[in-house]
Symmetry: C2
Subunit: 289 residues, 2 copies
Amino acid sequence: MDLITNIKQMQDLAMKLKGEGKTIGLVPTMGYLHEGHLSLAVRARQENGIVVMSNFVNPLQFGPQEDFATYPRDLDRDNKLAEGAGVDYVFAPSGEEMYPEGYSTYVEVKGGATEKMCGRSRPGHFLGVTTVVLKLFLITQPSRVYFGQKDAQQAIVIRKMVTDLNLPLEIVTCPIVRERDGLALSSRNTYLSPEERRNALALPHALAAGRQLIQQGERNPVRVREEILRVLESSPGIRVDYVEVVDGRTLEEQPVLQGPVLLAAAVFVGKTRLIDNIDLEVVPCTAVC
Amino acid sequence: MDLITNIKQMQDLAMKLKGEGKTIGLVPTMGYLHEGHLSLAVRARQENGIVVMSNFVNPLQFGPQEDFATYPRDLDRDNKLAEGAGVDYVFAPSGEEMYPEGYSTYVEVKGGATEKMCGRSRPGHFLGVTTVVLKLFLITQPSRVYFGQKDAQQAIVIRKMVTDLNLPLEIVTCPIVRERDGLALSSRNTYLSPEERRNALALPHALAAGRQLIQQGERNPVRVREEILRVLESSPGIRVDYVEVVDGRTLEEQPVLQGPVLLAAAVFVGKTRLIDNIDLEVVPCTAVC
């Protein structure tokens, strides 16, 4: 496995590989890899001739009060894990390499999915995501790009950008990987104290309670949301940022749950903000349920 | 020469041609071709295996009070001219093909060159330009893209986008083509009545007067600008939009003219807005001048 930090070197290599007829699978990450990231690399390995993993903590997608400075980093460990997962090239540029002085071009998906959920809680976040992701696409020239379903909204926003800009690549979304007790893997889990780690379980539990209601026949999104909120608000050490029960493709509200549905929540556990979601396909409820 | 109106067809073809090792030269136009456009195609023909010309009147770069609806169009004539200039493929999508319902992704170069000159007179214009141009780049996959120096500011903004987003292509700027009497070629010249056509000559004359001052040793941009303004304001039927004497690479003001300098102006002749410019390399003035 090779580590590349220079944009031109990465791009020249990607163009050369494509010229040789190879397909490139890209796994964009902010590093501090966990099994969730590695599941993306394994999938990319199965589907592409070449696997590139980017490792870049993108300052542009962090708000001024957020955790850019403290976001966990361990490039040596990441590189070993990436190699083990079959990655051919890790692209890990510096901030200065990606955004040199005078940098001023931004890509924005306006309205729709970007204004809800994390877009409301984190103004400018998705502008930073779409801008860096477009740059990574142009630098690494992938045929397929792999994102985790944990960042469901991110995947929806990026799909919209890819469609609108006619990017010649496919976005592949892979399932959330969880700890044995149900907590979704996240690099930010390292922020949690032992007590916070226990409290954080309320997040997957609350979402599971919402799913259970739907499985029992509830089709009113307001009641499902209330149930998720109820579980979260009755749990110690949890402050709710948002809870949404929405269309899983558009994040629009549904009057009656049907088709792809996303139960999504963001909470603060202490100072740590965690997100999680469950996506499911809801069939119309017959008289039986 | 083939005419293509479908994005996927154009993109699949471009990817296939690139896969065969061919280089693609793109000439983006809004149609109603004149010798200026054709000079770009001829240059592209010399430098690339395949020449694609796009022909699309981009609604996104017109303001609500501007001439999108009346902008001259003649695709049949354009296609014959393009074929004569050696174009292999004309890509002429519909507005609906480029911006389907729900389209919401925009690319913006912020600050700097986009806020001056035409950016100030035409809010949103360069957002529309960069968005459509990025889409055209991604659809036609060029190695080189050809723009006219008449739209000097446009070329500067697009170069900035290309650099910032790491687009793997080269922007080539070609000289302004003029009528024998000096008027820069523009599809909008067709709007002019015979009297307006005569009045419009004040634009190249005024810029030439500015250049002459510099050639005579003037290095104060304020005085050069005043001379250009003086000629325009003493000419019949001319309303000045802007006159700028600025750095030819950044459009920033220079305290003393030196290096690449752009003399640029926009005027209304009747209801028709025309732009023109002269770029020159200014050497430091010694005691001799």
